[in-house]
Symmetry: C2
Subunit: 248 residues, 2 copies
Amino acid sequence: MASSNQPATPARQLRADAARNREAVLCAAREVFAESGLDSPLEEIARRARVGIGTLYRRFPSREHLIAAALVGKITEYADAAENALGEADPWAGLSGFVRKICALQAGDRGLADLLLMTMATSGEIEAIRERANRAATELIARAKAAGTVRPDLTGEDLLLMMIANSSIAAAAGRDAPCAQPRFVALMLESFQPRPDSALPRPPSAAEMRRVMTRLAAAYGCHADPAAAAELCGGHPPQSSLGQPAAH
Amino acid sequence: MASSNQPATPARQLRADAARNREAVLCAAREVFAESGLDSPLEEIARRARVGIGTLYRRFPSREHLIAAALVGKITEYADAAENALGEADPWAGLSGFVRKICALQAGDRGLADLLLMTMATSGEIEAIRERANRAATELIARAKAAGTVRPDLTGEDLLLMMIANSSIAAAAGRDAPCAQPRFVALMLESFQPRPDSALPRPPSAAEMRRVMTRLAAAYGCHADPAAAAELCGGHPPQSSLGQPAAH
DNA sequence: CGCTAGCCGGAGGCTTTGCTCCACATCGGC
DNA sequence: GCCGATGTGGAGCAAAGCCTCCGGCTAGCG
């Protein structure tokens, strides 16, 4: 068993009809996830793709595989936004533009909003892209700090908190209050700016936020513990060769 | 079919054992709601109260009735916090203390956090208390604006946005990142302070936010449309115009 | 063409949750 | 202590989702 981590493209060439169906599922998944988030019923996706539920499961053995395959493109947009922002001459313009951009992305796609807040243990590809975005975002903050246009105690974790908040506001306000989300982002950006004599309580650590993201993943039915993840990938659970991994 | 709006206290004297059970259910409900939010399974509440599910439904014919009965006390704390803050001499100390207080309340009780973001069409009592809090909060903002310690374009709707955000951060971070929620509140308070030459996009209207709260209520299985609500109360659906006091 | 590996759909088992209904138990006035 | 009004528990039905399995279909190679 070659342990290719997860087939972003199917292992071998699919038959023409199968490939067509696979694409239809991905397309429907993008639609449904965007509308209703990553915990949408998979049956709804199959229905919209005009495909049996069995077909969906054959192509994507778990929800996480489907999520990863459907949203690589979208999360790449996110990473690209971060790196493009580094090209901006003015550090504050770069950072604030990036913040507005990703918050708008979240507001426009509930699936992406969810994905940006969780870790996908089974998809190295997604995590690599996220890491790329993280590096760029950290650099964006560092530059703005150096230029004195951002409060010196701002951290990358603050950006993540903002994204959690933005995601819930976008989900709650939706079309009922379309100006809520931009308003909130503007307020957050105000809070990022430096202000003399104002100290913030200490931020959460990167490790803490990683744990948060792992728990959020679990809430969407994505098992982030290594054993379950490995099993899902067809890999070997650590210490392999036990009859069955304990997790069920 | 008596059309008493909703029995905050049971219609007539309950038998001793029944009253004891009712109290046990309320107590369990407060626990479970606090831990897991207003969408917790009612069976879990019955189980923890060591009571049959039938008993729970007999006493509280719908989830909304149970929520209202279990959380009147908590939401009263919220309204009291607002009114007490009006007693504070320094307007900014009053407002910021209030904000920190309610956000801490939300962080400590997921049920309350949820309740503060939704309208309870079937419980005039809850809505009256909320209205009391709204009036006080509006006054708090007005005072702080007058004193120049808060940005002039801040509105009551911004407070609600903050509460939505705070609720989701508290829920996500939980015990994994206990400093996340205070950190976020501190940032929001920074954004409330005045800053020359900074304009915010226009805030959502009160009516829009009311619609948002109604939809959030529906998400917890609370039917907020007048017809369903009235039916649930055994009252008459149409015409009666005494509905909610319009916020503001 | 004909054949088969590969693919398809959805029936159906399982779990969770909501809510109803009724045979039985208990309280408490007399 | 009797006995009916009152209360109790949980069996049971329905709906929604997850996921597996298998009888039948077809694409596309030879």
